[in-house]
């Protein structure tokens, strides 16, 4: 069993969670105040989508159009003189971009609907409200991380503190939680999904949990690319739960057989018969096509196929490929911890070196992790957490290497898998040290992340946007 602080541990975990939540709130609010409009990636485009969704009844009635809504939003925010740093390439985006209305994903529809219900006609108020949605989604993700860790490691009070502390103090997460970005809903639903897994592993699957799981599944079906890795984890998790319910009997194996047959048959049909492939895409493939970008459909269905493309792009004998991969990994790692603006404002390199040390310690701790005290469902849940994390990484890097080799892998794309990452890292980190004084390195680790966050906000973000060094 992972070492905890039971007996002499934190006696008021609720207070600690409340404290962490308040720290996160104030810090995310500060980021929200400090980062100007469009200071984080594509905020103008996202906000324009929200406004289009908000005015959708008028758009459908022909009283306005997306181009006009985008232009009005831009003019309104520019007239406020928010003074975002606008390099020319982003100035171009500011000047003439109109998002496609058909790309109104669940996030935009939800925020647009909320803004319509609240009567937020003022673009400034709508923008602030949309940022607050992200902050609250981040706060909920923090709570769900805590809950997941508590459910999986009820004996330890250190692991939930570490996991929630990492999420609550992570600089990039704080900054992204203060921006209008569809990632926030993906992060929230991803956290809800993993918490749902932890809940069912610990408490079983009742009607309420089934309903919650189905709701998450439905919401995830319409969500963006970064959360898609969850789908196979969900299928596996569902099978595990079904197996537990049927005690691994004939019914379970019949279900596995049917599922495998349907999947295999569907794949064969889609591969062999183009109309079936198109039908597959039109029925189920929208999130998939979003995942791989607009080039996916012609690449898969009109050309040789994904495997050939992969072999073509993954040039293992070419040093250039490894150099590209190395730079992707570096940017990914840096932007997971803190790389602000449009990947323009990094921390000093030694902050990342210290962050890497934390990562190494958290991973190394799993060599000392004691599984003996864990029940089978909890072990299965931890395995699903690990699988989810690996799948998230695989999706991110495959996408970057194969389908979007010109773009950069960003650490924020991993945030929908923040719960498994935080829980697994915390459990590993806590296991590394003798139980007697595990709290000290844990405290030092969180202190380091807090200092990094302090530095990020006041030493990187503020100078980058306002050209002053405090």
């Amino acid at each position: 069993m992972a070492p905890g602080l039971k007996g002499r541990g934190i006696s008021r975990p609720g207070w600690v969670l409340a404290g962490l939540a308040l720290v996160f709130l104030t810090r995310a609010w500060l980021y929200s105040v400090a980062v100007p409009f469009n200071g984080q990636p594509d905020e103008l485009q996202h906000m324009a989508q929200v406004r289009i969704a908000q005015a959708w009844p008028q758009v459908e009635a022909g009283r306005t159009d997306p181009g006009r809504i985008s232009a009005e939003l831009r003019e309104a925010l520019e007239s406020l003189g928010l003074d975002p740093p606008r390099p020319p390439q982003k100035g171009g985006v500011m000047a003439g971009y109109t998002p496609l209305p058909e790309r109104r994903s669940l996030y935009f529809r939800l925020l647009g609907c909320l803004a319509r219900l609240l009567g937020l006609d003022d673009p400034f108020l709508a923008w602030r409200a949309a940022r607050w949605f992200s902050i609250l989604a981040g706060l909920a993700a923090l709570g769900l991380t805590w809950l997941s860790a508590r459910l999986l490691f009820p004996e330890s009070e250190l692991i939930p503190v570490l996991a929630a502390g990492l999420v609550g103090l992570l600089p990039q997460f704080g900054a992204m939680s203060a921006a209008v970005n569809p990632d926030s809903l993906a992060v929230l639903l991803g956290a809800a999904f993993f918490c749902f897994l932890a809940w069912t592993a610990r408490r079983g699957l009742g009607p309420l949990q089934t309903g919650a799981g189905l709701a998450i599944l439905l919401a995830l079906a319409g969500i963006k690319k970064t959360a898609l890795f969850i789908l196979p984890v969900m299928v596996l998790g569902g099978l595990l739960l079904f197996r537990a319910r049927t005690r691994g009997g004939r019914l379970f194996w019949t279900a596995v057989l049917i599922l495998t047959g349907v999947l295999a048959g569907g794949l064969v049909l889609a591969a062999a018969w183009p109309p079936a492939a198109r039908l597959f895409v039109s029925l189920f493939g929208l999130p998939l096509t979003r995942a791989w970008g607009p080039g996916f459909e012609p690449l898969v269905f009109r050309q040789a196929g994904v495997v050939e493309l992969f072999l073509q792009e993954a040039r293992l004998a070419d040093p250039g490929f490894w150099l590209h991969l190395k730079s992707l990994v570096l940017v990914f790692f840096k932007s997971f911890w803190g790389y602000f603006g449009y990947l323009e404002a990094p921390l000093a390199w030694w902050w990342y070196a210290l962050a890497a040390l934390l990562g190494v310690l958290g991973t190394a701790g799993w060599l000392r992790f004691d599984f003996s005290g864990l029940t089978a469902p909890r072990v299965a849940c931890l395995a699903l957490f690990g699988l989810g994390l690996l799948l998230a990484l695989a999706v991110i890097f495959l996408r970057q290497v194969i389908f979007a080799p010109g773009s950069l892998a960003q650490g924020r794309h991993l945030f929908p898998a923040l719960v498994p990452l935080a829980v697994l890292w915390s459990a590993g980190f806590a296991s590394l040290w003798p139980r007697r004084w595990a709290g000290w390195p844990a405290g030092a680790a969180l202190a380091l992340v807090w200092l990094m966050d302090l530095r990020a906000l006041w030493g990187v973000v503020v100078p980058w946007f306002y050209r002053v060094h405090l």
Partner: protein
């Protein structure tokens, strides 16, 4: 007493956090920037050891203490170290600025082989043209081969005019990938004179043409029409175009159009491409750096990609109203040379881009910082953060209270957790 005992850890945590934050904010001088240009649209190319790139500016404040320059390192964690030198200049911007060379990392690679000849028309902005820098790759050129560079009057529509200069360079002296300067005797009266340069090969052994690994001399072409996977780059060099003679003898697969060869009789029509070769012009230095006022270095490991990298030095007390030039040079070390990022528009009014002593139209992305009292810096930040924002975000006390609340909460949290650990 019990209450005080319970309170003690909270107070201790609070003091620790406030102390850390105090040390954090109190450390080092405050800095404000009045001279800056944030935008960039092209990278200025890797800096070879003998070259330098810089920017002129005029400081509006005393205490010039730091210059940040936007640099690129191609995602590499380690590049060659850079040194920044600060000197004073009389005039931060001159007349007849040269045009900066186009992007080095855009466009398509085109081969120059056989008797093919490729060229580019251009219109120099300055007198004394002394060389043309062409981005090329001579990695597959055989040793006895050479490259002939010829500078012509551009002539009328389809004929080159008088031959002005000719330079022949052995292929062995050319880089595997990089800008090479074909240097020649300065051409007086070159400003505003339509010129053309051509490149062709000589001395390539006959058997080499049959060698499938021989690619010829590789050049970079940037199309005005855009590449299949890129954006059109209009205005890179509006005063000229890449060209080649127009005789079809086969198919050029790099362009999916007829391949043309250099004809025996050169009195034939020329074909202009809609785009440019990646090239730049060289002139004799017009702006020599004076005595170095300040010097600062940055290690290769500490250079961040696509970010402002700072060069700090002892504040220059009497900098107000003076014009300066900062120049960047690479110093020996492992890795590739970093690149400086620049804009070809003159968006910063107080200076311009300078390459090897030649003033260019455009500017580096940079920020010059002046040391200032902490109070001044906080006031400046307050004004900028709260500007034009409706209440309650317009209230500086609101933001200060938020920041203080954040610190207090962290302190209380430490006090809550620490003694239990």
């Amino acid at each position: 007493m019990v209450f005080l005992k319970k309170l003690l850890p909270l107070v201790a945590g609070l003091l620790v956090c406030l102390g850390l934050a105090g040390a954090f904010f109190g450390f080092g001088p405050g800095l404000v920037s009045r001279e800056f240009q944030d935008g960039w649209r092209f990278n200025t190319g890797q800096l070879p050891p003998h070259a330098w790139i810089g920017q002129t500016f005029t400081s509006r404040l005393d205490g010039l203490a730091r210059i940040d320059v936007l640099l690129g390192s191609f995602g590499l964690p380690l590049v060659k170290p850079l040194t920044l030198e600060l000197t004073a200049v009389d005039r931060p911007r001159q007349d007849h600025l040269a045009r900066p060379r186009p992007l080095v990392d855009q466009g398509v690679t085109i081969p120059l082989h056989g008797p093919l000849q490729i060229g580019q028309t251009f219109l120099p902005r300055r007198d004394g043209l002394s060389g043309v820098r062409v981005l090329l790759d001579a990695g597959s050129m055989p040793a006895p081969a050479s490259v002939r560079f010829r500078l012509w009057e551009a002539g009328v529509i389809d004929l080159p005019g008088e031959l002005l200069r000719e330079v022949v360079v052995p292929a062995a002296d050319l880089p595997a990938w990089g800008f090479f300067e074909f240097a020649f005797r300065p051409l007086e009266g070159s400003a505003g004179r339509p010129l053309l340069f051509t490149l062709d090969l000589a001395g390539v052994p006959r058997h080499t043409w049959r060698d499938k690994t021989f690619q010829g001399l590789l050049l970079r072409f940037i199309s005005d029409q855009g590449q299949p996977d890129g954006q059109p780059w209009q205005g890179v060099n509006p005063e000229g175009s890449a060209w080649r003679p127009e005789i079809s003898v086969g198919k050029d697969y790099s362009f999916n159009e007829p391949l043309t060869l250099w004809p025996a009789n050169r009195h034939l029509k020329w074909r202009y491409w809609q785009g440019d070769l990646a090239f730049g012009l060289a002139y004799p230095p017009a702006l020599e750096p004076g005595p170095v006022l300040r010097r600062a270095g940055r290690r290769g490991l500490a250079i961040s990609d696509n970010s402002f990298n700072s060069f700090s030095f002892k504040p220059l007390e009497d900098s107000k109203g003076r014009s300066f030039l900062f120049s960047l040079k690479t110093t020996p070390g492992p890795g590739r040379e970093p690149v400086a990022l620049a804009d070809w528009a003159l968006r910063y009014p107080g200076g311009c881009l300078v390459v090897d002593g030649v003033p260019y139209e455009g500017g580096l992305a940079f920020r010059a910082y002046n040391a200032a009292a902490k109070g001044t810096v906080w006031r400046e930040l307050r004004d900028k953060v709260t500007r034009n924002k409706p209440a309650p975000w317009s209230g500086p006390w609101f933001i200060a209270a938020l920041a203080a609340a954040h610190l207090l909460l962290v302190g209380l949290l430490v006090g809550l957790v620490w003694p239990r650990a």
